[in-house]
Symmetry: C2
Subunit: 239 residues, 2 copies
DNA sequence: ACCTGAACACCGTTCAAGT
DNA sequence: ACCTGAACACCGTTCAAGT
């Protein structure tokens, strides 16, 4: 039956099977475990067999990113721009949380992958339909930056460590600080326990990532809404 | 004189000399060229000699990051919080622009490096001195995220490619798009030429990164100022 | 024609042998 | 005691030999 398992594992290789195995491997073991050799072994195949279906590792990564980006909710044509944008960004965040390796992979690649461009294009479409000038839409896309993809872009992102080797979390400054650190960085120590949930039971548990993400997102969306209502434009700015 | 050059290159190795050479190498050739072997060769030294001064490559990267973070302007004690924070974030941005490898290095490391913690602590100090509650300061730090370090965190960051192998820029969607791409992504094509500088001469030159960064930064700072004036707090939020 | 093992040019780091 | 070459366990990818 070891033989049979071998046979099953050697089922016809395809680009799709490779991509799904690659995503699963990166999800489970971290992106640093995703080598062509490891992936081939996972598929019960000799490393060079992969190169029949993907040009090289870079192309593999691009395709993996497109799979993840494809998980983001599509736009709702008739909806209010602000509500629709908020919903899709939160959907993007959920997609990326399912694949903690994706943010770094996206940043590392130079990426103008098709799915990513399609997503960005649809976001601009939502803004334009919502009455944004092309000029303001341009700056809004810049201002949202990677947050449009649901990157929390926190300085200490605990989520990114998920699926890594099961070591203890790297103590973000917003969780309880060890006393000698707290003494050297009193301001960090002070805000560490001043999280949104003043609930004593949660203190020291770290931050509510979802709340913090929505806080920043709404800060941006509210400011953007204000600019749109003022028909803000950079066209006449002095340089 | 080749001998003399050799001798000069073999001048006493020190941790400081290693760090400065490492930063220079990463600045000039990109972070992917910074291998222990390359660095050793640059210093005219056998690879293993480095390990007398740095524990391993991770520790080297941490120390390099601290050098860069150390270039950020110190706070001005008496100043207005908003003006001071803005100035320091822009200073951080300049520091990181001098070292295009630093953002990715910082994100890759789990980093609670001393200089970084000191910088973050001083930023919180500025907020607290400006009358922010610990609660609001906490959320503000999250909302600013890596922008506090001057990361533009654009989706297509042309700056990050600086110092890479001199290939042509990867065509961000906001520069002039090739016609077949423009056809598939009409909304991106539309905003690409709707940059802040409606100056026809600049169209197709890409974006004014500095303007876009300040646009997003001010959007955040203005929103944050508004919350502070309302004495906003998350303490009583419903969960 | 297709597949694949060996090989190449790299890594970071360990370790034992040499001074 | 210090330094360092060789070696180990990895990479991605090329290429030629085998079927």
């Amino acid at each position: 039956m070891a033989e049979q398992a071998e046979t099953l594992r050697r089922a016809p290789l395809s680009r799709d099977r490779i991509l799904r195995a690659a995503v699963a491997l990166a999800d489970a073991a971290g992106i640093e475990s995703l080598s062509m050799r490891n992936l081939a072994q996972e598929l019960g195949v000799v490393p060079m067999a992969l190169y029949k279906h993907v040009a090289n590792k870079d192309e593999l990564l691009d395709a993996m990113i497109d799979l993840v980006v494809g998980e983001i909710d599509p736009p709702t044509p008739g909806a209010d721009w602000k509500q629709d944008l908020r919903r899709r960004v939160l959907s993007a965040r959920q997609a990326l949380r399912r694949h903690p390796w994706a943010p770094l992979a996206i940043e590392t690649r130079n990426m103008a992958t098709p799915a990513l461009l399609a997503y960005l294009d649809s976001v601009v479409g939502t803004l334009r339909a919502g009455g944004f000038s092309a000029n303001l839409a341009h700056h809004v896309m810049h201002a949202m930056g990677s947050r449009i993809l649901g990157f929390s872009q926190e300085l200490f992102d605990t989520a990114r460590d998920a699926g890594r080797s099961g070591r203890t979390t790297p103590a973000p400054p917003t969780a309880a600080l060890p006393p000698e650190v707290a003494a050297r960085f009193p301001h960090l120590a002070e805000i560490a326990t001043a999280a949104s949930h003043d609930d004593a039971s949660v203190v020291g548990q770290g931050c509510d990532d979802q709340f913090e993400f929505e806080f920043a997102l709404d800060l941006l969306l509210d400011g953007i809404e204000r600019l749109q209502q003022q028909a803000w434009t950079s066209a006449r700015r002095t340089r």
